[in-house]
Amino acid sequence: MKGADYILKRVGFALVTIFVAVTINFALFRLAPGSAVTNLARVPHATPETRLAIKRQFGLDKSKLTQYRIYLVQLMHGNLGVSFANSQPVRDNLKTALINTIPMVLLGTMFAIVIGTLTGVIAAWRRGTGAEAASVTTALGFYSMPTHWLGLMLVILFAGILPTGGMSNEFLINPPFWTHVKDLAAHITLPALTLGLVLFGEYTLIVRSAMLETLGEDYILTARAKGLRPGAILRKHALRNALLPIATLVALSLGYIVAGAILVETVFSWPGIGRAVYDAVLQRDYPMLQGAFLLLTVSVVFFNLVADLLYFRLDPRISE
């Protein structure tokens, strides 16, 4: 029954991490330097009465512990507060933003995983040749570029050919279905490509070292000695085993994906979570910022848990 034990442990860890994140989130905004009233409600030159009213309204006259309890209870009910910027519930704002972000990030990440795995495997398999040097150099190059700067370079290169901002052409009113799809596809290309290229660099390097490690194992030597075809060794013996560390490392790069999404969406005015974070920072819209931070953290923790469980499924050695 070791398996159940393992799963329970990982789920427990994820839950505690989320709790820690929630607490950090509370502490950062409530215990921040400066008056909570000015932080929360941005009212310059308010009369003492107004201040008191605001304090009451936000429950700031209660003790920190009570405030924390209220915060937790509200959070359980899915209440993330109201955005300063557009007076809408933060939850609704985030939901719209999340729906816009997912396809873009998914497309970019898929691109990076496919191309990155391919070049990484080639680099490891052809160790010491020009192919390795070329793929490692390219990967390191993309890895070194600041994400938003790479996006701006693509804007310069493709301006006029592909749309460089927004999610759809606002001048198309009730377009036919296919025109709309084509329009969306054109808009998603550059942001997804930017994210994909940056991640591609990272993944190539990860896959290469995971493959090199596997290729050094004795069972590869055995397979060679048995006279198996190189292609079969690569696919059945090396790649399958290298997939394990790759899966974990891809999961660990999630924080990197999140950072990339924030920068990419800012460059391309993509109306997703990242852009919401940027706007919230510019307008000092604290409830929105708080909500977005929580959403990003929870999703990273969640996908880490998924990766852990996947690893458990893939590697029978863990359950032994």
Binding site: V16, T17, W149, I262, L263, V281
Partner: protein, 318 residues
């Protein structure tokens, strides 16, 4: 592999214990990629340090039209305030490198302490410290940095602290593993039995052994810190009174350098950041490759590794 069949004691041929001093330079000197990285980084650091003396123009004086095109007098053109780009790049690199190095120093202090304590004392200390590290590892850095920077307000000092307190996790983990193995070495045990205090053992015997790896980790952290500074500046969280490379990219983006066609205002600062990160990655990667026993073994077989460490050396030393 044939090694597996021999007696454990016979495997010490691996390599002589190198003198600690000079390990870092020796590694860099031997690998062309690391050497290239060191040269690039040195040139950039030199340019940044000498900015007050060799920068061609004044940092705050408009010397031509807004977004003036590159010319003989201004090889990289002018920025949105009509200031010479070469001058800006030198001063900008100065601020970016300052943030990179200072933030890394903060994270080295935290990560180094956590790694040393967890690895050296083991047991409960280890469990607690590593749990905390795990939490920090999972929570995404950049959003947390954005939140903290947004609340604290933009200033160079805040940015350094924010980046520093969030980047220490990998250092702590790498160091902990290394300290754990050093702790078991015979001369450390001997020092303990002679009655040396923990402080003395850590400072005199453990720290010098793990220092090269700490340096490798430092160089890699500098790259991340500089990337983070660029990202924060781009999101409007940079120090408004200091011009850094990240701030230059943000300014150019905000003031529509692209639609004006002024590529020279936006390409060079990014290239410079990419070069710094590339150089740090090359140096750090090579050092880690050479110094981290786990990675060194990655290119051999797993079995040679299991037999090699500690056992042989221990018996010989006794």
């Amino acid at each position: 592999m044939s090694v597996a069949l021999r007696e454990p004691g016979a495997v010490i041929e691996s390599e002589p214990i190198r003198s600690r001093r000079g390990v870092v330079w020796e590694t860099i000197r031997r690998r062309p990629s690391a050497l290239a990285g060191a040269v690039i980084l040195s040139v950039i650091i030199l340019g940044a340090l000498l900015a007050p003396w060799i920068a061609p123009y004044d940092l705050h004086t408009q010397v031509g039209p807004v977004f003036g095109a590159p010319s003989w007098a201004h090889p990289l053109g002018l920025d949105d305030g009509g200031i010479d780009m070469v001058t800006l790049l030198m001063w900008g690199a100065r601020v970016s490198l300052l943030v990179g190095f200072a933030a890394t120093l903060v994270s080295m202090l935290i990560g180094g302490t956590v790694g040393l304590l967890a690895g050296y004392f083991g047991g409960k200390t280890d469990t607690i410290l590593m749990r905390i590290t795990d939490y920090f590892l999972v929570i995404p850095d950049v959003p947390l940095m954005i939140v903290v920077a947004a609340i604290w307000g933009p200033s160079l000092f805040h940015i350094i602290i924010v980046i520093g307190i969030l980047l220490w996790t990998s250092t702590a983990r790498v160091l902990r593993a290394q300290v754990k193995s050093v702790r078991e070495l015979v001369y450390v045990k001997r020092a303990r039995s002679l009655g040396a205090s923990h402080t003395r053992i850590v400072l005199r015997h453990v720290l010098p052994q793990v220092a090269p790896l700490l340096i490798a980790s430092t160089v890699l952290t500098i790259a991340v810190a500089i990337f983070d500074e660029t990202a924060l500046a781009f999101l409007g969280l940079g120090d408004p009174s200091r011009i850094s490379l990240g701030k230059m990219i943000e300014n150019a983006f905000q003031r529509a350098a692209i639609s004006t066609g002024a590529w020279w205002a936006i390409v060079p600062p990014g290239v410079l950041v990419a070069l710094i990160i590339l150089a740090c990655s090359l140096i750090g990667g090579a050092l880690e490759d050479a110094l981290n026993p786990r990675l060194r073994v990655a290119h051999l077989s797993a079995r040679t590794f299991r037999l090699r460490p500690l056992v042989g050396r221990g018996e010989e030393a006794v």
